[in-house]
């Protein structure tokens, strides 16, 4: 990650050069400086009102650039005549008026305006371009439909087609999939990805962090009146950034299917604020069995202790997100006596310990053992049968011992809060 130096910028690069952008006297984003090279797709993410759309609108005059500049190949786009600029920059705005009933084809053809001579009508070459972009955006079958009778999704794809008909070198997308169903959203983003790979410089505003991470090469975060240098999704987005920027505690991990960063929001930070208002609760969990309960108890204000959790385990990520105490182990790490003692002490500080409906194996059996040894009241969720006990009957032995010592058993996680009151003055 290095600051862009104008002299090293390749031709066809879109560059924000210390641009301060706003509306009238109000500045929204200060000193934006980054470059988007041809073939590159940069995603802008950030909270509502932070200035993502404003950054894009500044290029086409919808917002004011009060200092600095936005350039293409060194030439100022801000001061460029509209007609010349429209041959370089295509925009897909967030929403589009459709109050007059142009046919879809006439609507797309409007994208050719900047290429047509004053008295010239669109010719066969223009018609071929319109056909092609409608084909690529899957809108060819709509050609004869009046745009004011189409769905928001169809209109959004037609607007993309209109922008592509400009044959731009820079494509600006403001939430290009906001009106699209899942199928069309992926289709449009695959198309945009292909266009970037074909040499366009693309900037897209995203609300869905996962889609941004999946399709953009680099991501910039727009927040607090500034914009960060674009960085690869894996380094631009982590749980800390999501918490700082959006105020949401989230699990950020690599999606095993797509291989890109996936963000799962757990709780709003604001909802956790009045925390530490109830007694501490311990959980014996793992493999996601404790995720729901941890979230609920954290929102209710209980400090939590989650025992040993391996990195990579979903419960580990959730525990980190809600700020639960735990003993971290590397993935597939083993529990030694020191860790076991630490966990026992951790559970001992809790008003009671809930044994979630997790399967038990060699890795998390020590948690159950430690909970039992801590001497705190236990709540057991579900039944201990062969489907949960992968520890050759040892989990079963501990479970039965707990029941002998007076542990409360409930059928499901939903019943837990009803019995928490029984273990030492806990108000659920």
């Amino acid at each position: 990650m290095s600051a862009s130096v104008p002299s090293s910028v390749p031709a066809g690069t879109l560059e924000y050069v210390g641009a301060s952008i706003g509306y009238g006297a109000r500045t929204i984003v200060r000193d934006a400086s980054f470059a988007v090279a041809p073939g590159e797709f940069v995603g802008l993410v950030g909270p509502n009102g932070a200035g993502k759309s404003t950054l894009l609108r500044a290029i086409t005059g919808g917002a004011t650039v009060s200092a600095g500049d936005i350039t293409f190949g060194g030439a100022s786009l801000v001061r460029m005549p509209e007609r010349e600029r429209a041959r370089i920059v295509g925009v897909v705005p967030q929403t589009q008026l459709a109050t007059f009933s142009f046919t879809a084809r006439a609507y797309v053809e409007m994208g050719r305006h900047a290429h047509l001579g004053r008295l010239a009508a669109p010719g066969p070459a223009d018609a071929a371009i319109v056909d092609e972009v409608m084909e690529r955006t899957d809108t060819a079958r709509l050609a004869a439909e009046p745009v004011d009778e189409l769905s928001g999704g169809d209109l959004q794809r037609l607007t993309l087609a209109q922008a592509l008909a400009q044959q731009p070198q820079v494509l600006l997308l403001d939430e290009p999939t906001s009106h699209l169903d899942l199928n069309h959203a992926l289709q449009v983003l695959e198309l945009v990805r292909a266009l970037a790979d074909g040499g366009l410089a693309v900037v897209g505003v995203f609300h869905d962090l996962g889609l941004a991470a999946r399709y953009a090469d680099r991501i910039s975060i727009v927040a607090g009146g500034g914009v960060t240098l674009p960085a690869p999704p894996a380094s631009a987005l982590d749980a800390q950034v999501v918490s700082d920027v959006f105020g949401v505690r989230a699990v950020v991990r690599t999606d095993p299917v797509t291989g890109s960063v996936a963000v799962t929001p757990i709780v709003r930070g604001a909802d956790l604020a009045p925390a530490v208002s109830g007694p501490r609760i311990g959980l014996v969990c793992g493999s996601g069995a404790g995720a729901g309960l941890m979230r609920r108890l954290a929102l209710a204000g209980h400090p939590l202790y989650a025992g040993v959790l391996n990195r990579g385990d979903i419960d580990h990520a959730v525990a980190a997100a809600v700020g639960a105490g735990m003993a971290e182990l590397p993935a597939f790490g083993e529990v030694d006596e020191t860790v076991a003692a630490e966990v026992r002490a951790g559970y001992a500080e809790c008003a009671c310990v809930v044994v979630c409906e997790t399967p038990f194996g060699g890795a998390n059996l020590p948690n159950l053992q430690a909970a039992l040894d801590s001497g705190r009241p236990l709540v057991l969720v579900g039944e201990m049968d062969g489907e949960r006990d992968f520890a050759h009957g040892r989990a079963r032995v501990l479970w039965d011992r707990a029941l002998e010592r007076g542990a409360v058993r409930v059928d499901t996680e939903a019943d837990v809060s009803g019995v928490l009151g029984r273990c030492g003055g806990v108000e659920a």
Binding site: E82, R83, L97, F100, S101, F102, H113
Partner: protein, 329 residues
């Protein structure tokens, strides 16, 4: 389609010339025009046709064309199907400007021939600026505010015009009749004056019909697609003001032509200005020639000001669009 409208306009003009206190056959009408062009011997009916009827009917056609052109421009620039020079107050502004010019310039013919249209143009342009300013909130133009501001300004300016006329009783009756929208006693000078203003005002819309299409997508989008929005708006509004000023200075306040004709043509032919503009201009001309014919014959020998005919037809039409728009909202 355009050829059909042009043919209909020719027929309407012939009919407009043929009907009247002295009926003249369509053959005589065509003959009179042929004599005038070919320089043959003039008959009595030739004189009626060439000196009385033809200038009046051609003027009606030009006024209708001018108002329809202005209506198309306003409706595109403001993205409002109810915009029209009469409703936006521009006609009243032109009327006040023309009245002030008439009173200030006295009776010199030359001064009036130039000064009245100029006064009307100034009045129309300033009124447009005022109404747009009144209807804008933080750079955004609210469609409903635009219509309300236009109507309010229209009332105020009409009242001012009436006030000026009361001060100047000598001219009152003639000007009041003119204000109601009349085409009586118009001559070839009026045709020439409006013809020139209409020709000048048509240049920009004819060249920039694609920009008008793009303006319907919104100012910001039009800019993104390559339109120099502010410059184009100024040019188009100036053109509209010019043709409205031309129409008002020869025929007073004739309402709703600019509203009705583009609307009907758009329903029939779609919103693309390449076709909508010329078709609306032709349709506006036809509608006003027919309305004027109606105004002359319905209570003959008494003539009704044609503005009353268009208002009687146009008012309900306005309400119909308004209610239809509300219902589909």
């Amino acid at each position: 389609m355009l050829a059909g409208l042009a043919a209909a306009l020719v027929l309407a003009i012939i009919a407009g010339v043929a009907f009247g206190a002295v009926p003249i056959s369509p053959g005589e009408v065509v003959g009179a025009i042929a004599h005038a062009l070919g320089g043959g011997e003039r008959t009595l009916s030739d004189a009626v046709v060439l000196d009385l009827r033809l200038p009046r009917v051609l003027l009606a056609a030009l006024v209708g064309a001018a108002l329809a052109l202005a209506g198309v421009l306003y409706q595109a620039l403001f993205r409002n199907p109810l915009a029209d020079p009469y409703i936006l107050g521009v006609s009243s502004g032109a009327g006040l400007g023309a009245t002030v010019a008439m009173m200030a310039l006295g009776t010199s013919y030359m001064m009036r021939a130039i000064g009245v249209p100029l006064g009307a143009f100034a009045g129309a342009g300033l009124t447009m600026l005022l109404v747009v300013r009144l209807a804008s909130r933080r750079g955004r133009l609210d469609p409903t505010s635009l219509l309300l501001a236009g109507m309010a300004v229209s009332y105020i300016l009409s009242a001012l015009t009436s006030f000026l006329l009361v001060l100047d009783r000598e001219q009152m009756s003639g000007v009041v009749f003119w204000m109601m929208g009349g085409l009586q006693n118009r001559s070839w000078e009026h045709v020439a004056s409006l013809g020139v203003m209409f020709a000048i005002g048509s240049i920009a819309p004819a060249l920039y019909h694609r920009e008008l299409d793009l303006m319907l997508l919104g100012d910001e989008r039009a800019g993104q697609l390559g339109v120099s929005v502010e410059r184009f708006k100024t040019l188009a509004l100036a053109s509209a003001s010019l043709v409205v000023a031309g129409a008002v200075s020869v025929s007073g306040l004739i309402g709703f032509i600019g509203l009705m004709t583009p609307h009907m043509v758009r329903l029939a032919l779609g919103p693309r200005h390449r076709l909508l503009l010329p078709a609306s201009v032709l349709a506006g001309a036809i509608v006003l020639v027919v309305a004027d014919l109606f105004a002359r014959v319905v209570l003959a020998p008494v003539e009704i000001p044609v503005g009353i005919v268009t208002a009687l037809a146009g008012g309900p039409f306005f309400l119909w669009i308004l209610l239809r728009k509300e219902r589909t909202r």
